[in-house]
C-alpha cells in the first residue's frame, strides 16, 4: 500500500508530533508514504467562502501532483481531506466545471484528469490495514485507559458524501478499543468543537469548546483523542485560553489519535513531541509504560 502523503499547512507548521507519529506508525503497518513536491494549501472553508472557482483550482492543483505520482492521496487533516475529496468528486462528475478549472490550472502548467482518490488516515487504517492487523501490532495495550474520542465534523459529515466509505462516529471508538483502551461517551459528543469560528468570533468559538470540555470533565475521562488538528487546537491550546479568559481549569490531556496508536505500538514520544502539548500528557505516557 503506497500513498501520496498530503500534509496540509497546519500540521507541518504547528503539530509536528502528529506528523512524526504518522510517519512512524504507518510504515510499521505496511503503508508506504511518499512525500508530495510543491503542494499548496488545500482550500479550507474560509477560502472556499471567498472564491468558488479559485478553491476548485487550488485543491485540483494538489490533486494533479498526486495524479502525476500515480498514487492516491492520504490526507492527515480532516478539513484537507474533505476539501480535496469534495473537489475531486465535483471535477470527476461535472465536465463543464472541470474544463473551467483546467483553464485556470493551465497557468500552473497542470491538468486535472480525475485518476486518483482521496483518503484520510482513518480510511487507510480501517480499510487497507484493518483493525485485526493493528491489534496484532499492539505491543503495549492501553490498559483500559478511559479515552473520549472527538472524531471531528469533516471526517463524517455530510453523511451522503461519505456514504461510499460507510464511516460514522464510532470509527474512532473502534480504533481506541482495538488499542486496548476504553472509549467513553460524553454529552454533545457529535457537536462541532468550534474551531472554524476562531479569529472570526472568538467568543463563540471558545463557548463551544468550553461546552465540550465541561462535558468531557463530567464524563471523567483520562484523556481525549482527536483526529483533526483543528479540534486539537481547540481542546489543547483552547484549555489555556479558557483558563485565562473564563477562569475554568480542566487539565484534560489531548492526544492525536496517531500518537495513541504509536504508544500502543511500542513507539516512544520524544521530548519535542511531548512539549508541543500545551496541556501536559506526561501522566498518560507514564501510565502506559
Amino acid at each position: 500500500m503506497k500513498y501520496a502523503l498530503y500534509l496540509g499547512c497546519l500540521i507541518p507548521a504547528r503539530e509536528l508530533s502528529y506528523e512524526l507519529a504518522t510517519r512512524k506508525t504507518m510504515p510499521a503497518l505496511g503503508v508506504e508514504l511518499m512525500d508530495m513536491d510543491g503542494t499548496s494549501c488545500c482550500g479550507p472553508f474560509a477560502i472556499q467562502s471567498l472564491d468558488y472557482t479559485g478553491w476548485l483550482a487550488l485543491a485540483a492543483r494538489n490533486l494533479c501532483i498526486a495524479e502525476k505520482m500515480g498514487l492516491d492521496i492520504m490526507a492527515l487533516c480532516n478539513d484537507c481531506y474533505e476539501s480535496l475529496m469534495m473537489v475531486n468528486e465535483t471535477l470527476k462528475r461535472d465536465k463543464q466545471t472541470r474544463d473551467n478549472v483546467n483553464e485556470i490550472l493551465s497557468v500552473a502548467s497542470k491538468k486535472f484528469k480525475g485518476t486518483v482518490n482521496v483518503k484520510h488516515t482513518m480510511d487507510v487504517l480501517c480499510e487497507d490495514v484493518g483493525l485485526d492487523k493493528i491489534r496484532s501490532k499492539v505491543t503495549k495495550p492501553l490498559n483500559g485507559l478511559k479515552v473520549a474520542t472527538q472524531v471531528g465534523c469533516h471526517l463524517v459529515r455530510p453523511k451522503m458524501l461519505h456514504a461510499g466509505v460507510g464511516r460514522g462516529f464510532e470509527v474512532l471508538d473502534d480504533l481506541v478499543r482495538t488499542l486496548g483502551a476504553e472509549p467513553v461517551d460524553y454529552d454533545d459528543k457529535e457537536i462541532c468543537c468550534g474551531g472554524p469560528l476562531r479569529d472570526i468570533d472568538d467568543h463563540l468559538s471558545r463557548t463551544l469548546s468550553n461546552r465540550k470540555l465541561s462535558a468531557l470533565k463530567r464524563a471523567n475521562v483520562d484523556c481525549v483523542v482527536t483526529a483533526c488538528p483543528f479540534c486539537y487546537v481547540q481542546f489543547d491550546l483552547g484549555q489555556l485560553e479558557i483558563k485565562s479568559l473564563l477562569k475554568e481549569e480542566y487539565d484534560i490531556p489531548v492526544l492525536h489519535f496517531v500518537e495513541l496508536l504509536s504508544l500502543a505500538m511500542g513507539f516512544k514520544l520524544e521530548g519535542p513531541q511531548l512539549r508541543e502539548h500545551r496541556v501536559p500528557i506526561d501522566r498518560i505516557v507514564r501510565k502506559l509504560e
Binding site: 487550488l58 469560528l197 479569529d199
Partner: protein
C-alpha cells in the same frame, strides 16, 4: 394620527422597502453552492440541529434562508453568514436538500466580491496568495524539520498566478 406621525411612518416604510432586494433570492440561487435555497420549506430542522444556534440568538440557519428569501441582503450577507461553523449537521438532516450549510458559501462569496470579509479570513487569504499556504512554519520550526529530516514547506508562486486569473487577488486588494 397627526400629520407628522404619518410622515414618519411613510419615511420608515421607504427605508424598509429599500432595504429589501427582491432579486436577491434568485441571485443567491444562481451562485455556486446556493442552488438548494429554492427547496427550503422553512421547517426549522436545521435550526434545531445547529450548535451555534443553541448558543446565541445572533445566528439561525433557517432564519438565514428566510432573510435571503425576503431579500434582506444586509442581514444575510454580513450579520448571519459568517457565524456558520461549516459543521454540516444541517446538511445531514435537511429533508428537502436545501442545505443551508452550502448556501452559506454562496452568500459569503457574494459578500467577498465587495470585499466585505471578516479580518481573520482576509489574513488567511492574503497569506495564501502570497505564500501558497495559510499557515507558515516559523524559522525555528523549519530548522527543527530540517534536523529531523522532514520535508521543508516551500512557498508556491503558482497559487498567486492562479489567484490573479480567477480575480481572487483583486478581492484581497492585491495586484
Amino acid at each position: 394620527m397627526t400629520s407628522a406621525e404619518s410622515d414618519l411612518e411613510f419615511i420608515m416604510s421607504q427605508i424598509h422597502a429599500r432595504r429589501r432586494d427582491p432579486d436577491f433570492m434568485q441571485e443567491v440561487a444562481n451562485t455556486p453552492r446556493g442552488e438548494g435555497l429554492l427547496s427550503c420549506i422553512q421547517c426549522g430542522r436545521c435550526a434545531g440541529s445547529c450548535p451555534v444556534g443553541r448558543l446565541t440568538l445572533k445566528y439561525n440557519p433557517r432564519r438565514l434562508i428566510e432573510m435571503v428569501n425576503l431579500g434582506y441582503k444586509w442581514e444575510a450577507l454580513f450579520e448571519l453568514s459568517w457565524l456558520c461553523l461549516s459543521c454540516f449537521t444541517c446538511i445531514d438532516r435537511c429533508p428537502q436538500g436545501a442545505d443551508v450549510g452550502e448556501v452559506v458559501f454562496a452568500l459569503r462569496s457574494i459578500a467577498a466580491k465587495d470585499g466585505n470579509v471578516p479580518k481573520g479570513a482576509l489574513t488567511m487569504a492574503k497569506n495564501l496568495v502570497e505564500t501558497g499556504h495559510i499557515v507558515n512554519p516559523t524559522a525555528s520550526v523549519s530548522k527543527q524539520r530540517a534536523s529531523l529530516g522532514l520535508p521543508v514547506q516551500e512557498p508556491v508562486p503558482e497559487v498567486a498566478k492562479m489567484a490573479k486569473k480567477t480575480g481572487f487577488s483583486k478581492i484581497l486588494g492585491l495586484k
